[in-house]
């Protein structure tokens, strides 16, 4: 193996050249450097796992063995015993130089396999090249055996059987949405208020559960009547929770034993020996008892995340680490001075690396939709305390600094901005963005708190605890506010709304009648008829998805069961119900609206060119669309260039955006979740714009089937925002970010030259103030990297908005010659 060439030059020189990876390498400690490089990347690129990544068969086998053995137990108890068996027997390891432990797989290079989640996924695992552990043939036989056992018995299989057959076929077609209506393949918020703010170790929780059992048992030996009948089920659930919490504590103690054994028998370096002994003491303390210092606090949190992932796939990682661990940082670093700032930074960096390490096997559509990452782990920083005061602390700053040292793509941060955030914190956020990390995204906290109260009736103090449940959606971390199961499974491929409105509900890509018959569009005589058809399709599509998820949620305690998650949630500890049960849950769902803006640009183009200017007839348009614009290039260019596009501060099309959002918001108050609460939409895309490219047909915005869709949320189509970033913000500012939806994703490209130096920071800060003045809830920044500029060279049509700013000189990047472009790439971004 050839060693990486050493990078010459001082940190300053590397910073000047914006070679941020090398800057990080030079700046971080030796420990952090080792840990960062020792970690296996689990994210898939181009849909494929990196060489060497293997499917974890050990945990799947252990789980299945015990699940099969206890086949006559009720589901919660049966799963609790299977999970306990995994925790008691799986291989564990401690990475050299690590101060935090815990991986949900059996080896550092394995990806977890949720064997009881979905047969379809199991079959994909069997067929996925390269991921079978050696010897491959033997592994394939094991997998085949497990797949045979689980076929038809997984959580998703059970839901699919009871769905309305027509709904099931349409949902599973993959055309109108994605996701699995089960908590097996979702993610869960955690009741951090109960665990962390409430300072509870698992022993304390077990005491709470035992108290609840005692109270319940007074009734089961008391007066007979219908009200005591469901207590028997609850008692079983409580027992399952205790069983799994005890197994979790035993599991931590296995790490303590391993660390102690290594320290006492094998380790020769005194310093490392002391670290291992500290690690042993840490794992003896947490999760059994509440943490005493920062290391224990991080370790406790990490254990909780791992146990939840032994139980379910957990494709997101809602967390607010600065808020919940901040008091321990303050104690260790500022008060007791048991940790130096540098030592603390090492721990913070390692905490991020341990999360980066985590990855489970995901089906191809999810890998394509989440390019390069294993789930949406957007950790929340900043924000306010429950009383509205600034919650930023020294640990907020440490996380933002550590991010630049470890440079991982997962977790990323979302920053809860509010007017009281101090300048020193803003500078740290800006440095992360300037270093090309792409995060933190900025979230408008006062507005989102109000939004949470508007849509879901969260009380003010509860709303103020919000974290990113996945990439975008704010959910509280409280007893009634926490979201126990991904209720965004209603992930809608919204471009289908306008597509079906134009084709009488028929899907020409899938080749079947999907939506309701809203009339032959070729006979529409005015825009209102088209808009009416769109509204009907929108309602049909969202109804179908919401019905499916609602059913999955309602049946999940029966089909899947979450003994561990229930055991760490106050609501379940008190009630004895599976935490996924809607009883006592406030309900805070949202529809993740993929490919939303295509609707707006398409409707605007039809209104303008067909109904207003009468340049084309509806019949001509439908014919061209059915031909995928093939043979109609001149006409297609007209629809691209001469119809107004969202994001240019043009009321003609912006009004259509507002109209569509308002129509959907009205429907959001009609559709209800299992707790009886509203279902607002949340436009965002992850990288679904690529996944859906071949699934969405030709559209009147000039898009052909196969073209990538817009990059998401309420961001304008690439190259279609001709008037620059301020006009984009002006358009977005017309949306009511409280009443029109749950949140709205906006991507902005910035050029490194514009952000250079102190002037760049001051401009960015002014930008953020304006963004907040305009009432937007989200923005994330992509630095225009040389990759982007190179892509612009290849595909100029899509990048015409990339402007090269040099004083006194005016040009759009794609308009200038190749040689000049090369020169500018050298000038703006050198190296990586």
């Amino acid at each position: 193996m050839v060693a990486e060439p050493a990078r010459d030059g001082s940190v300053q020189e590397l910073e000047n050249k914006q070679e941020w990876w090398w800057v990080a390498e030079k700046k971080r400690s030796k420990r952090l450097d080792y840990l960062r490089k020792a970690v296996w990347k689990k994210g898939a690129l181009g849909g494929n796992y990196a060489p060497g990544i293997k499917l974890d068969l050990e945990c799947a086998t252990l789980f299945t063995d015990m699940w099969n053995f206890w086949k006559y137990d009720p589901i919660m108890m049966r799963r609790a015993k299977a999970i306990a068996h995994v925790l008691d027997n799986k291989t564990i390891f401690i990475t050299d130089h690590a101060q935090l432990v815990g991986y949900f797989g059996s080896l550092p290079h394995t990806i977890m396999w949720r064997v009881d989640g979905a047969s379809m996924v199991n079959e994909e695992a069997y067929n996925e090249p390269g991921i079978m552990p050696e010897p491959e043939q033997e592994s394939l036989e094991k997998v085949a055996k497990l797949n045979d056992y689980w076929a038809g018995q997984t959580a998703v299989d059970k839901v699919a059987r009871i769905l309305d057959p027509e709904d099931a076929v349409k949902f599973l077609s993959g055309a109108i949405g994605w996701g699995a209506p089960s908590s097996a393949y979702g993610y869960s918020g955690k009741d951090y208020e109960y665990l962390f703010a409430g300072k509870r170790g698992f022993e304390d929780i077990i005491e709470d559960i035992e108290a609840a059992i005692e109270k319940a048992e007074e009734k089961t030996v008391g007066v007979p009547g219908p009200e005591i009948l469901d207590i028997y089920d609850r008692l079983q659930n409580w027992d399952a929770m205790i069983l799994v919490l005890e197994a979790a504590m035993r599991h931590a103690k296995r790490y303590a034993r391993l660390a102690r054994t290594m320290a006492e028998n094998f380790e020769t370096d005194d310093k490392r020996k002391e670290e291992l002994l500290r690690l042993a003491r840490t794992c003896e303390q947490v999760p059994a008892k509440s943490p005493r210092n920062l290391q224990e606090s991080f370790q406790y949190d990490h254990f909780v995340q791992m146990f939840a992932r032994v139980e379910a796939h957990e494709g997101a990682w809602p967390a607010r680490p600065d808020y919940y661990h901040g008091p321990y940082y303050d104690k260790d670093v500022n008060i007791d001075k048991t940790l130096t700032k540098e030592e603390a930074l090492d721990l913070v960096g390692e905490f991020m690396i341990r999360a980066y390490e985590v990855g489970g096997f995901a089906p191809r559509w999810a890998r394509e939709g989440l390019q390069g990452i294993t789930g949406t782990w957007v950790w929340t920083l900043g924000g306010v305390n429950k009383d509205g005061t600034d919650a930023c602390n020294d640990l907020t700053i440490a996380f933002l600094q550590a991010a630049r040292l470890v440079r991982v793509s997962n977790p990323t941060f979302g920053f809860r901005w509010h007017p009281k955030v101090k300048d020193e914190v803003m500078r740290e956020c800006f440095e992360c963005i300037r270093h090309g990390l792409g995060y933190p995204s900025m979230r408008n906290d006062p507005l989102l708190v109000q939004n949470a109260m508007h849509w879901h009736g969260h009380p003010l103090e509860e709303a103020r605890t919000w974290v990113h449940q996945a990439c975008m959606s704010p959910c509280p971390t409280t007893k009634n506010g926490v979201q126990p199961m991904r209720m965004a499974s209603a992930t809608a491929n919204c471009a289908k709304m306008v597509e079906y409105a134009l084709h009488n509900g028929y899907d020409h890509v899938v080749g079947m009648q999907m939506g309701p018959q809203t009339g032959e569009a070729s006979s529409f005589t005015d825009f209102e008829q088209l808009f009416q058809a769109w509204t009907t399709q929108m309602q049909w599509l969202t109804n179908l998805l919401v019905r499916t998820v609602n059913l999955g949620r309602y049946k999940d305690p029966e089909f899947f069961g979450r003994p561990f998650l229930s055991g760490i949630s106050q609501r379940s500890v008190e009630s004895g119900l599976d935490v996924v049960s809607p009883v006592g849950d406030r309900g805070n769902c949202w529809i993740t609206a993929f490919t939303w803006v295509e609707n707006i640009d398409s409707l605007a183009a039809v209104k303008k060119l067909v109904f207003d200017e009468k340049k084309y007839t509806m019949e001509q348009l439908i014919t061209a669309l059915k031909a995928n614009w093939d043979g109609y290039e001149q006409m297609r260019l007209d629809f691209v260039n001469n119809a107004p596009k969202w994001g240019n501060d043009d009321d003609y099309v912006d009004d259509i955006m507002i109209r569509c959002l308002q129509a959907t918001a009205r429907h959001s108050h009609v559709m209800k979740c299992p707790s009886g609460n509203n279902w607002p939409i949340l436009p965002e895309n992850v990288s679904g714009n690529i996944h859906y490219a071949s699934i969405v047909g030709a559209l009147p915005n000039g898009r052909r089937c196969g073209d990538a869709l817009y990059d998401g949320g309420i961001s304008p189509g690439p190259g279609l925002d001709k008037k620059g970033p301020t006009a984009v913000l002006a358009s977005c500012g017309k949306i009511d970010h409280i009443a029109d939806g749950r949140a709205f994703l906006l991507n902005q490209r910035l050029s490194p030259t514009q952000l250079a130096g102190e002037k760049g920071y001051q401009l960015w800060k002014a930008y953020i103030r304006t963004w907040a003045d305009l009432g937007l809830d989200h923005v994330q920044f992509n630095m225009v990297s040389d990759e982007t500029l190179r892509a612009a060279q290849k595909d100029p049509e899509k990048y015409s908005e990339v402007i090269v700013r040099v004083a006194g000189y005016s040009a759009h990047f794609v308009d200038i010659s190749r040689k000049t472009q090369d020169n500018i790439i050298q000038r703006t971004v050198q190296g990586i």
Binding site: G760, D773, V806, A807, Y809
Partner: protein, 313 residues
């Protein structure tokens, strides 16, 4: 005051959220038409005063549709099958651009009223307010359309029902009659004034006029107390001599407190790409750009005379 609805100007481009050419976020209004003839001109599309056809030969597919509609015979195809315009025959009717589907022939220059321009400028008022920014008129040479600049700036200073008055900057070569400046300056917060050469002879050779009017205007602006930044393009082999730097710095110092700072604008060869796309020859040697490190002694020299020196403005 002139009626802004009836004051027309010819606009090349309106660039929002610019971070150059003045403080804060700026909307730059590039006007069409120029008063000088600089050999290194970076914006050749800004030189002629009225809307015209600019060929983008790199976009042209050689279909010949444009030749069909050209009634004066001004268009022909060259050996590469790209359109060539005989400016003597062309009447700027712009019909060829209407039939061109590949943006090979582009109408350059839009006639707009002052109100139309200001509507777009005021759209970013929130950005200006938060960043201390505003509008800059540039060119071409904005003082080729002094009445229009006057209309724009007086509206900018008046504000609207929704927007407060905004900061105004004039990016000018200085080569316009004083009475035009006298009309515009009361509405101007900052003048970005180019000083291209201190010696009148080379100034005439490379820009087509001597610097007499420019230096005189600069002195009169200073007398009025106009806030100025001097913008000094650094053109290899033309003005990058010790002698010229010293003279420029001393001139800046002689203008007193009016001069807020000096912006050095090192030559870059990017314009060569534009000329090529337009099918024009770029006489100026398209050498390498000017490396910033070469400017350190120049900065030191200027700092002896003025408070602030930047590279790139």
């Amino acid at each position: 005051m002139t009626d802004p609805e009836k004051t027309f100007g010819v606009i090349n481009d309106i660039q929002r959220m610019s971070t150059n050419d003045g403080p804060g976020f700026r909307t730059i209004v590039f006007l069409k038409g120029c008063l000088l003839d600089c050999k290194w001109c970076h914006n050749p599309e800004g030189r002629r005063r009225f809307p015209e056809i600019i060929p983008f030969v790199t976009n042209c597919i050689g279909c010949g549709e444009c030749l069909e509609v050209c009634a004066t015979g001004a268009l022909s195809l060259n050996g590469d099958n790209h359109p060539v315009i005989d400016r003597g025959l062309c009447t700027d009717c712009l019909q060829c651009a209407r039939v061109c589907t590949h943006a090979g022939l582009v109408p350059w220059g839009t006639i707009m009223t002052a109100s139309e321009v200001m509507k777009e400028v005021f759209a970013d008022e929130a950005f200006f307010r938060n960043s201390g920014g505003g509008m800059t008129v540039s060119g071409g040479e904005p003082m080729a359309q002094p009445g229009f600049v006057h209309a724009l700036f007086s509206m900018a200073k008046q504000g609207t029902d929704q927007a407060s008055p905004i900061h105004t900057a004039l990016d000018t070569c200085g080569h316009a009659p004083w009475e035009d400046y006298a009309k515009v300056l009361p509405f101007t917060d900052l003048v970005l004034l180019d000083i291209k050469h201190m010696n009148p002879e080379p100034h005439k050779t490379y820009t087509g006029a001597t610097n007499a009017l420019i230096l005189n205007n600069a002195r009169r602006m200073a007398e009025m107390g106009t806030t100025m930044r001097l913008r000094v393009p650094i053109i290899p082999g033309i003005n990058d001599t010790q002698e010229n730097w010293s003279a420029t710095a001393e001139f800046a110092a002689s203008l007193g407190d009016s001069v807020q700072g000096v912006d050095l604008l090192p030559y870059h060869p990017y314009a060569g790409g534009k000329y090529k796309a337009f099918g024009m020859d770029y006489d100026f040697p398209a050498g390498e750009g000017y490396d910033d490190s070469r400017l350190e002694p120049v900065i030191e020299l200027f700092l002896k005379h003025v408070y602030e020196v930047t590279i790139g403005g």
